[in-house]
Symmetry: D2
Subunit: 335 residues, 4 copies
Amino acid sequence: MKIGVIGCGYWGPNLIRNFTAMDTCEVIAVSDLQEERLSFVKKTFPSIKRLTKDAADIINSSDIDAVVVCTPVSTHHQLGHDILSSGKHLLMEKPFTATVEQAESLIELAEQKNLKILVDHTFIYTGAVQTIKSYIDSGKLGDLYYFDSVRVNLGLFQHDVNVIWDLAPHDVSIMEYLLKLRPQAISATGVAHFDSKIENIAYISTYYDNNIMGHIHVNWLAPVKVRKTLISGSKKMIIYDDMEPSEKVKIYDKGVDISEDKEQIYNTLIQYRTGDMLAPQIDLTEALKKVTKEFYDSVNEDRKPLTDGIDGLNVVRILESATKSIRSNGKVIKL
Amino acid sequence: MKIGVIGCGYWGPNLIRNFTAMDTCEVIAVSDLQEERLSFVKKTFPSIKRLTKDAADIINSSDIDAVVVCTPVSTHHQLGHDILSSGKHLLMEKPFTATVEQAESLIELAEQKNLKILVDHTFIYTGAVQTIKSYIDSGKLGDLYYFDSVRVNLGLFQHDVNVIWDLAPHDVSIMEYLLKLRPQAISATGVAHFDSKIENIAYISTYYDNNIMGHIHVNWLAPVKVRKTLISGSKKMIIYDDMEPSEKVKIYDKGVDISEDKEQIYNTLIQYRTGDMLAPQIDLTEALKKVTKEFYDSVNEDRKPLTDGIDGLNVVRILESATKSIRSNGKVIKL
Amino acid sequence: MKIGVIGCGYWGPNLIRNFTAMDTCEVIAVSDLQEERLSFVKKTFPSIKRLTKDAADIINSSDIDAVVVCTPVSTHHQLGHDILSSGKHLLMEKPFTATVEQAESLIELAEQKNLKILVDHTFIYTGAVQTIKSYIDSGKLGDLYYFDSVRVNLGLFQHDVNVIWDLAPHDVSIMEYLLKLRPQAISATGVAHFDSKIENIAYISTYYDNNIMGHIHVNWLAPVKVRKTLISGSKKMIIYDDMEPSEKVKIYDKGVDISEDKEQIYNTLIQYRTGDMLAPQIDLTEALKKVTKEFYDSVNEDRKPLTDGIDGLNVVRILESATKSIRSNGKVIKL
Amino acid sequence: MKIGVIGCGYWGPNLIRNFTAMDTCEVIAVSDLQEERLSFVKKTFPSIKRLTKDAADIINSSDIDAVVVCTPVSTHHQLGHDILSSGKHLLMEKPFTATVEQAESLIELAEQKNLKILVDHTFIYTGAVQTIKSYIDSGKLGDLYYFDSVRVNLGLFQHDVNVIWDLAPHDVSIMEYLLKLRPQAISATGVAHFDSKIENIAYISTYYDNNIMGHIHVNWLAPVKVRKTLISGSKKMIIYDDMEPSEKVKIYDKGVDISEDKEQIYNTLIQYRTGDMLAPQIDLTEALKKVTKEFYDSVNEDRKPLTDGIDGLNVVRILESATKSIRSNGKVIKL
């Protein structure tokens, strides 16, 4: 598979590196608006000969089968549209698009053209998330109660998107993947500082059937890095701490037993169970290696990739609704 | 000061122990509805001779100067009313009352009678909170941006109050004390499980002037205990982790510098500073020892105690509004 | 069982509290050289009527069945001798005695008189050590390779004993209990400061059959408290961190596989296995509650207690040899 | 400066990368015995044209000014001798040589030829060690009491050297650099397993003037990675934990006050001070970048590099003596 890459800032080189390491794929062209980034690519990946400042050179190439887009989200829809229109498969950086409408139009176009879209929700491909997924799907967690995630650090401010569009795609994609549920409603609170209109702190609540709840806290203004998720079920509870070097996933055999209380008939008797904690061995393969393999395989086998346009759309819907809710003072948005 | 104690479950004995250790105070009577608790008091504090199942015995005693109330919140208003009416000072366990209206009526009654009310917001008296307070008041943190607190554990369910009334009084009282601001609006989200109407998870957002924001996450369904607060200012940021055995307060010399960017006139240039972290030595005196001393001193010196009825009222107002917001699907409540 | 307690400083009250809570035992007399400690006992345990400054009052009482000794180690032998001679069972604080010879004489005397000696190696009775013990005894750890323990803090200097006699009894008793082996040789290094002859840092190495090794680091001059033990076997490895609030014991399914390497015949091929980590639920019962129960039960059932005089002697032998080795510049002492 | 690199396994490519990034240096030739490693270099550093299996090609090149040696220690002396003899400067991987005698002969040869030797004690160039150094040198720690270092992990067994020669060079070089003292004596204990003669666990004690002591624990058989150093002075104490992502160095304002006790004239009164903890900001520049710069600068400025042959020799002397001590059952080796 011959690949072109559009955008070569922070994340693009990681995708190039992983595609370059595959026997089945070859990156043959890279574009970036900045000369300096092209020089970096030339030096780091001397085998890539076609370097251009014009994305159209890649989009219009007849010898390119698939295009990887690692540019700001505001450009995703136009680039995606042109790439799919020119008959090429698409690996789109997250968030998929800037609006739900844009996501829907790309999905429709890909279907018409029978092309694949993979949205790079990288965390879905980590050993940690895969391990948690297998626990939930096996029923070992029991009924789910909530998903709570915190992702904060003293990060770079972006000028084009708020902290929700910057950090929350990770948590939202993980939440959607693990719960396998679509929220019925969303509300969010947050705030901007520094005379900016761009929120730098946000709290997102999502509501599901059966009283399941989700909550995500994203924040650019914290002194330390935190990436911590709690997932609680009726049988077991999980803490996923991505900052832990080795024991990223801890599964607690703790929970709540509800029994009927004959004597005090009006009260539900709730008893706590406590038990062992297990930190299972996690597959440490670089997630992006699996992303690039999944992209190739889904094209080659003509099947839906693990994180496709629909998944990208579902994430964008939550990001869009959350931002809308913040700007309506936390109003609940029905989905 | 001769003291009576009403309610001797989990917390009451700690107050008795601390008053007993003071030269200036004497606990002379204790009441509890349960015989078994009175036996415990008799064995543990053999010098207390008057043990009764009837709180009225204490309220009506002519030789008692002050009464400590450690009973469920639903009883606070009636007991407080009777105690103040009988001319006795009042140390009330938190939360102060079950409604704002009740709090206001007790405050008014105490003023009429020239009696003191101390609400036991214990955390305010800890070395950790006092250290943070002195940093904020000295201006070393700069302008405040937000207060974010998490208090979760696999705790006992209470049947009479939800997780907000159970756990959030700690965080709300700390937030009010440190920010010295009253919120303009509140919203909250949360959920109940187990066919109960009692919320076991809740997220509270509070909005202040100058884009300052507060957020509190309380949760009875987590596998581990977390008590962690982030406070961010323009000059420094603080992490207060009450589960840390020694370094509970960490002050990070990190922040954000905003400078005017001449070249790109439309963008605010935001730069991150990183510097040292300081974990100052914390006074480890038991907070409750300071609570009991403050109660005696405020009566003796005829002055407002550090955490008085107004502070109790301010906390109750937030708890009440937060619960109301949850039950209106996260509606913003203006204050 | 009627019990007298000699010595009521830091640890004695804990033993009194636990014996007092038992239905089968009664503490009827306490002695201490300091009037102030006797006042404390009188106030804290008002049911104990006989308080004396003279240990002989307890030793000579005809209505006392057993005596608990919580005094400095230099007094242990004489007190133990007198207690056993007067026909009373003995619960001796650790370290058992100041010399091996003293330990042997007490053991012999107890045997002659058919009396029980329990040495208070408290850690043996913790849920953590019992859990580790069951793992080792079940064979799940495989062949043992080493036991490594660190116990350090900014502690109080003692004037009568060095850091080995103060802190190492804990680690040595745990090591002896878990390994079920007697060392063949011991060496130790260490140093004294502050113009004192009393070592405040020490490192003890113990050598066993089959290349099993033990090592203990004890230190009064560290800025933080550390109580951490590594135990490594051919199948699994354990970290026991007593400072962890909940997950004190972690069992790592990691190890070393040795296979024959056909190609490079002179090299042993060693491969690392890595797997899950399990933190089993630990019994959190206060260890001292089990110590006092074991003392009563061993007397009542006329059987050897879990930690008897022989165990006390085995610990003293290592402490004595380690101190001797330090003062001979680390010379190996054969046992 | 034109550079040749001999040995391109795990560490060599990092040195090539850092020299390549410098404007003043150019790596023009690399040798390795394994074809596969040369292919890796060719792919990763396409600008390096001369790849050879024969180190002599590099040593004998007339256009090479300096040679970097990243090969097993058993080859260091011969290679170093040939490189210096051919008039080239030498950057030698640690440990410098396999014996003290070899180290001395290389130092002598370099002096005769007026060539530089830099031994790659990488940790000396880290921000963490430089920060600690500046604290000690400023006198803020007061008189030093001890240096205690633990470096353990489930590491790869090496067949040619024991755990001391593999892991301890890091700790020994840091200890030597910080204490600025040469030990008067050394003893060590340790053990081999798996029918091997190669020790996989070792404990090294070093003795200095003024009762200062050093201790290093190195271990290939631990389930988790530990890199932790305690340094204690009369005024402050330091914990250096290299596994901490951000707060690697913690400086505790804790210590010991010794005052004369008039009443109890025979006792030294020792009081503990406790105070703030400071985690200073650490320079995060890659240490190896500073190593390569120091090598160039020392050649260019014709001066002693920060870690020269003498430093390498001092480390080798301790490694050699420690291994000798283990094999003599912990005998003290006078230096």
